[in-house]
């Protein structure tokens, strides 16, 4: 156009210049017609308006909708839409109580003490209820064992109470189809069947889990007394039977002692996971981390871990060596021999051993081995050697001997020991039962909240035997693999609806009380037995087990304690506190036999294979599979691999090269005639040729959330144990076809890629050093601190300013804080596909970093949450001011202002903001978490966020507001110690502190001025309010690593 005008200026009669020569002479033309001097085009160029454009128009030619009609339609549509849209917030009417229960004040929470039944540790818990419904489970501070803390499973257990998949009524399966049946009919049929079985001399089998309740044990004995043909078979999928048997072999009698981890200066763990899944892990974490305190450099313990699988415990070791599980016996015998020689041979050890040859053969560091031996010898009496519960018995015998000659028995707890009410059934007992079932000698099988079809090795043939039993009953909360084959599936109360008592330690009795009336037509499983015991269906009462429990306590414990009060006072006080300590129990229960030297001399190393070895482990989140239907636990990242919603075969990088596989490929594991395929995950720190898989997945009947998730590891188990129940050597492994998408919340390329390798150290995200460095120069980290000056005047926070401190020496990465935050703040479950897109909604995460080599990485755990920065980069960029800063230092979020630009998340350097891309409650699993009664689990103090809204950690602002209101009520200033955030409350190692930064006496202030204290990414001047204490490794001075 420009050119044409210019051309036109050059030609005096531009518009008349239509000759083709002129057009041809022009440099530009707009169309072929113009080029061809079309007359129409020429006319168009001459006239501004087309012919006919100004002619009068005919209304009949126009569209049929007039303006009037359009407006009428528009107003009708608007009225229609406005009237028919229901108020989505309208969930019904709030009707005040007609007869208000005395203990409920709407808006005020009540707390009840009880006991967790997630595992056999029976931790004391405090249940927070609102308007009669439990919404949060935390530890009972008065319980002497767990002292106010519980694990991730205990935290998440409240979701199971409101699980829509819970059974609601008794079900009878006849002809393959289920139908509901009233409890009274079941009682009649059961009483009749039990009587007939007794009269016809047929066996009645009851399959139980580990019994840790004295009253339940008494009831079962009474049942047996009434029906003498009853036999009990019990199992605990991951148990300590091997340790128990080894102890008896070495000491003749008694039980393995509890260990005073807080008195240990040196700890050697052999494939042990005492911080994760073995023993009473909550107590172990507290005791272990009490000697890993940034404020107490003199009493730092030193932790050596020798393991084949990278475990949660092994991640926290000062020295870690990789060794396959079947070589552990050889290792400990070599170690025992070396220590024995240096102590002038108090024991006779058969065989020729050389620790250094062994180290060379297995690629262990000679230097580290020397340091280990010297350390054990120089800390005699204050060191402990611990063998993992899955290792063979001989390893435990050797470890007991090692502790004995090193004098480490001083660390055994002499005041308390664990109580065992019943031992697990052995192989012979199971085989007898199954043979009797097949032969028709068993008339009734009662599954007492157990699932043997899933848990027992398939070669027992339990499933086929069960089909031959005339009457099988499953007492269970949810349908499972076993209940689907039983004649009757009887729903039982959830733990929060049940009575019970637990005695897991000498003199410590904890009580379980129901905090909510059973939601459905369920019964306590003990009450079901009691009715059949009474022989009359009319005997059932709602509180019959409660009365039985009270009666047992009145006749038993109350009498033995000689209390100066009456029983009712004692009972109600015990229920109020949740735990009773009978100090008079003393040590009479604790017997330790004398050490048997012959048990050691009988030990000999076994020939080792060089082939692959399979190691089946306990899953930290699902346990033995019981919690497969719990979305919070499925979505909780694995503490080591950060994988969610799946299990996998963890292998070393070297093994991956050998098998020619990468992460997300598949491998097939064959042991004899048992075969299973697993997706591959390359896990740094795994020993070569060791395949590590975790159980608890692959369930076929675990509910809508948990079914068909992961791979069933149990198909590889066998009743014919060779090495150990969960360790198999001489397996065949080959690459399988296909791939599988494993979803992990954390990338792990940092070890291989030069650009990002050790980035967490280079950028100061993790600050670390050694205890020795800290002792010699406490300010050794000062030169690394990168706090920046600011041109702006700092905002003065009057009164309380909230801040948090996290001690990286204490944090072990257990994830209890993550789940506690999920429960407290109504975090939605999003599902595997959304996690894959990076949309996991956890406000709190534990970042896991590696440094060193992929074979022997050094691991760091760092809890990461909103840093509540003073100069938060997210606050400046919100176009609608939905995120702002409060006068007490919180970075606030106004959900109803947020329009979802996500600019704040983009700007956040810590990546702690979470966006609701969907209404996840609706989106996940076809609205599973919108069904009744899931909404009862929500904490009413925290908004449930919907789609399009950004959310993040609020420092539990609801708890801060509650404390502020209480302080106002009491007419006193608010103190930092008045508030405990959910993560702080849950942390078993007490790594998290929270309080008033303006109070110089508060722990959080002390963290800020501590020599080890630092802020993450301080150089970008966000002024975060979370202070981390740098991680110290307690390496020996002679080891300049």
């Amino acid at each position: 156009m420009e050119q044409e005008r210019l051309t036109g200026m050059n030609n005096s009669n531009n518009s008349d210049n239509n000759s083709s020569e002129d057009i041809k002479g022009s440099r530009f033309w707009r169309s072929l017609k113009e080029l061809g001097s079309d007359s129409e085009i020429n006319e168009t160029k001459a006239n501004e308006f087309m012919q006919g454009v100004t002619d009068d128009f005919d209304i009949k030619q126009l569209a049929g909708v007039s303006r009037r009609k359009f407006l009428a339609l528009l107003s009708a549509s608007v009225a229609f839409a406005a009237a028919s849209c229901s108020n989505y917030k309208d969930k019904g009417e709030i009707v005040p109580y007609n007869k208000k229960p005395e203990e409920i004040t709407p808006g005020i929470a009540n707390y009840y003490a009880s006991t967790c039944t997630g595992c056999s540790n029976a931790c004391g818990i405090l249940i927070k209820t609102r308007e009669g419904r439990p919404i949060k489970v935390d530890g009972n501070p008065q319980h002497p064992v767990n002292m106010g803390k519980i694990c991730a499973i205990g935290q998440a257990s409240v979701l199971n109470l409101y699980d829509p998949n819970r059974l609601r009524k008794p079900i009878k399966i006849s002809g393959g189809s289920p139908s509901e049946i009233p409890w009274t009919n079941v009682d009649d049929l059961m009483i009749q069947a039990l009587t007939e079985a007794q009269n016809s001399n047929k066996q009645i089998a009851i399959i139980t889990g580990k019994i840790v309740s004295p009253t339940e044990s008494k009831l079962l004995n009474e049942f047996k007394a009434k029906y003498p043909n009853t036999l009990f078979y019990s199992y605990e999928f991951f148990n300590d039977d091997i340790r128990l048997n080894a102890w008896k072999k070495v000491y003749g009698s008694g039980l393995p002692p509890l260990i005073n981890w807080d008195m240990a200066n040196v700890i050697l763990s052999l494939e042990g996971d005492f911080l994760g899944s073995e023993g009473h892990s909550i107590e172990n974490i507290r005791l272990f981390s009490s000697k890993r305190d940034g404020y107490n450099k003199k009493e730092f313990n030193r932790f050596y871990s020798v393991e084949g699988a990278m475990s949660l415990t092994g991640m926290n070791a000062d020295y870690r060596m990789r060794l396959r599980p079947d070589a552990q016996l050889e290792f400990v015998l070599n170690l025992l021999n070396e220590v024995n020689n240096r102590l002038n041979k108090p024991l006779t050890i058969n065989g020729n051993y050389s620790l250094h040859s062994f180290a060379m053969q297995h690629g262990l560091s000679d230097k580290t081995i020397d340091l280990l031996v010297n350390d054990l010898l120089s800390n005699r009496g204050s060191a402990i050697v611990y063998a993992g519960s899955k290792l063979p018995e001989e390893v435990h015998v050797a470890v007991n001997a090692l502790n004995e000659i090193l004098g480490n028995a001083k660390l055994y707890n002499r005041d308390e020991q664990q109580i065992v009410f019943s031992s697990s059934s052995d192989k012979q007992q199971w085989e007898d039962l199954i043979n009797n079932m097949k032969n028709g000698n068993v008339s009734i099988v009662i599954h007492y909240d157990t699932n043997p079809i899933y848990h027992l090795p398939k070669d027992y043939g339990y499933e086929s035997a069960l089909r031959k039993v005339p009457l099988s009953v499953s007492l269970t909360e949810q349908e499972n693999e076993t209940s689907s084959l039983c004649t009757y599936t009887l729903p039982i109360n959830h733990a929060l609806e049940s009575w019970g008592d637990y005695n897991i330690r000498t003199g410590i009795y904890s009580l379980q009380q129901p905090v909510i009336y059973p939601l459905y037509t369920t019964r306590q499983k003990e009450a079901a037995l009691m009715v059949w015991l009474a022989g009359n269906k009319a005997a059932f009462k709602d509180n019959m087990y409660h009365e039985y429990l009270m009666s047992n306590w009145e006749k038993g414990l109350f009498q033995s304690m000689n209390m100066p009060v009456d029983f009712k006072t004692f009972w109600f006080t015990s229920l109020e506190n949740g735990v009773v300590q009978n100090t008079k129990a003393g040590r009479e229960g604790i017997q330790q036999g004398s050490f048997s030297r012959s048990s050691v001399s009988a030990l000999s190393s076994k020939p080792q294979s060089n082939g692959f070895i399979l190691y089946i482990k306990h899953n930290y989140n699902l346990g033995d599979g019981k919690y497969a239907n719990n979305g919070w636990l499925q979505e909780l990242p694995h503490p080591v691999s950060k994988v969610v919603w799946d299990n996998y075969a963890a292998i070393s990088p070297e093994t991956a090269k050998e098998l020619n596989v990468e992460t997300n490929d598949k491998i097939e594991i064959t042991i004899g005639n048992r075969r299973q395929e697993f997706p591959v995950f390359i896990q740094p720190g795994t020993a070569d040729k060791v395949i590590v898989v975790e159980a608890g997945y692959g369930r076929s009947k675990a509910g809508d959330v948990g079914s068909d998730i992961g791979v069933n590891t149990n198909v590889l188990l066998t009743k014919d144990i060779q090495l150990a129940p969960f360790i198999f050597n001489n397996i065949a492994v080959q690459k399988a076809h296909g791939s599988y998408n494993l979803v992990t919340t954390q990338e792990m390329h940092s070890l291989d890629e030069t650009r990002v390798k050790d980035m967490h150290l280079k950028r100061g995200i993790i600050r670390q050093g050694t205890v020795q460095e800290f002792k010699e120069n406490p300010g050794f980290l000062e030169k690394e601190k990168r706090e920046q000056p600011s041109v702006n005047k700092d905002v003065q926070y009057k009164n309380v300013k909230w801040g948090m401190g996290i001690d990286l020496n204490k944090c072990i990465g257990c994830n209890a804080c993550v789940v506690s935050c999920d429960v407290e703040n109504n975090i939605p479950v999003v599902g595997k596909d959304q996690v894959d897109r990076g949309r996991i909604m956890h406000w709190f995460r534990v970042d896991r970093y590696y440094s060193g080599t992929p074979e022997d990485p050094i691991v760091y755990n760092q809890p990461m949450l909103c840093q509540h920065c003073d100069t938060a980069p997210c606050e400046n960029v919100c176009p609608v001011a939905a995120t702002s800063h409060s006068p007490d230092g919180l970075n606030q979020m106004a959900y109803n202002r947020c329009v979802g630009t996500r600019y704040c998340s983009n700007n956040c350097p810590y990546k702690v903001r979470r966006f609701n891309f969907f209404n996840f409650r609706d989106h996940f699993a076809d609205g599973y978490y919108q069904q009744e009664p899931i909404e009862l689990v929500y904490n009413p103090e925290v908004t449930v966020r919907s789609r399009g809204v950004m959310e993040k950690c609020t420092f539990c602002v609801q708890r801060i507001m509650l404390a502020r209101e209480k302080a106002i009520e009491e007419n006193r200033p608010l103190k930092g110690s008045d508030v405990e955030t959910a993560c702080q409350q849950a942390c078993p190692s007490r790594a998290i502190v929270f309080g008033d930064v303006n109070d110089p006496e508060s722990v959080v202030s002390k963290h800020r001025v501590h020599e080890l204290g630092y802020h993450v990414l301080a150089e970008i001047n966000t002024r975060p309010n979370i202070t981390y204490l740098a991680k110290l490794r307690n390496t020996l001075p002679e080891d300049k690593a």
Partner: protein
Amino acid sequence: MQNKIDQNKTNPSGRIKRRIFFGKLTKAIAALALLKFLPIRFFSNYSDNISSKNKITVKVHPLAVKYGTRKVNGNE
């Protein structure tokens, strides 16, 4: 749609007759009323398909004993 002048429905001026208007209004109100009582998920963010027979009653257990009067958050 043609903008026909239907003498049965419109006045000579072209405006809709009063009875026709009220007839349409009545139909619209009836349709609205019907929609209001139907469980239409489209208009609601949450499912209303909860059968009354499956209603769950939350009731505090009458025998539960509350935890002590000491604080449960923060230090004592």
